[in-house]
Symmetry: C2
Subunit: 213 residues, 2 copies
């Protein structure tokens, strides 16, 4: 079954000519191949439709540098946070480290977001933060999370319209597991979602299962 665009020999020749001599008109391509313009029309149409070539009136065909694989990549680039985010789990900034760890286990998440009494984002707690605190000598029920959390303005946030690909880059570059999805409100950010490496991994699976594109 045909599933990839397998170019035939003539289409490969056309591609080569346009790479070397583009922009070039259809007639000039035909001349180089000793064929008529009409004969080449379907091939040129296919190469253009598939994104290998682009054509401009009065200029001719030029090579886009693109391949079939880019078709999905272009769509992947447009995926937005709002369509893949998870529900955020938040704790108040006056709860203890012990309580935060319990919440993390109960909710089975790897990252907690810390909010103040106005429900504004003030901190982030990762498993790593909680593990670091837990090997200290202090009594975990006595330490409030706001002592150990990563706090504003050091928190990287995203908005629901942001691109998944940008979030993925941030997760990699900053070596973090999750970003809060926030909405700007008076005086700060309200947490409306959570986007994690698990969400990104699910997207990869869905790309293959073809239920995204």
């Amino acid at each position: 079954m045909v599933r990839t665009i397998e170019l035939n020999k003539r289409q490969e020749q056309i591609l080569q000519i346009v790479k070397e001599h583009g922009p070039i008109t259809g007639e000039h391509i035909a001349d180089r191949l000793n064929l008529t313009r009409a004969t080449l029309r379907p091939d040129l149409a296919i190469l253009t439709m598939a994104g290998y070539l682009d054509a401009r009136p009065r200029v001719g065909y030029f090579y886009t540098g693109k391949s079939g694989a880019n078709l999905l990549a272009e769509k992947l680039k447009k995926l937005q946070v709002k369509d893949f985010q998870s529900i955020p789990v938040v704790v108040n900034d006056n709860v203890s480290v012990y309580d935060a760890i319990c919440t993390m286990f109960l909710e089975d998440v790897g990252t907690l977001f810390v909010v103040d009494n106005q429900s504004l984002l003030v901190g982030v707690l990762s498993r790593k933060d909680l593990l670091r605190a837990s090997i200290g000598k202090q009594e975990l029920t006595q330490i409030p999370v706001n002592i150990i959390m990563t706090r504003m303005p050091n928190i990287t946030v995203c908005k629901k319209e942001d691109l998944i690909i940008d979030v993925a880059r941030i997760l990699i570059e900053k070596q973090i597991d999750a970003l809060p999805v926030v909405k700007e409100v008076d005086g700060g950010f309200e947490v409306i979602g959570r986007i994690t490496k698990t969400n990104i991994t699910k997207i990869l699976v869905r790309l293959v299962d073809d239920d995204i594109m």
Copy 2:
């Protein structure tokens, strides 16, 4: 610039006809559209090249159920663990939970693999396992990791030739962060790599940057 296959109205009509009536000959499609076979030839060629339609001699055109997006998905399905794995971090099964936590911080990983004196895989330690242990009342320097680790045969492993997509599915289904990449040796498994949701997230970024396909 044309980068995705945007079907024109006639191509959409053809696709619809083949979906409903396929397998169907080019002539019958032309009849239904009140066009000549010659007029349709480029459109049929494009739809076939793009993988939407397939043609069999004496049978006609039929709908493949595929779209342009599948081009990349097909390649994505072939990616193997060995090309994307990270270096594993291992600890001996007689080290303490405290030492394991320190190793986790020093090596900055989320999962440790536990090996016996023959360097065979006997356990896995996640941040979650270590965090759970650390809120217990016991002295962490006195508990050996083999008390708290996930142990064989409950460990999911993968081989270097395994497919990334299969690993991604396992990470999602089993809700784990990392798999050990193992090699079968006499008496068990030797750990030769580590594959994590971070590796999968990096693959998604590389798909868009187009340096994989």
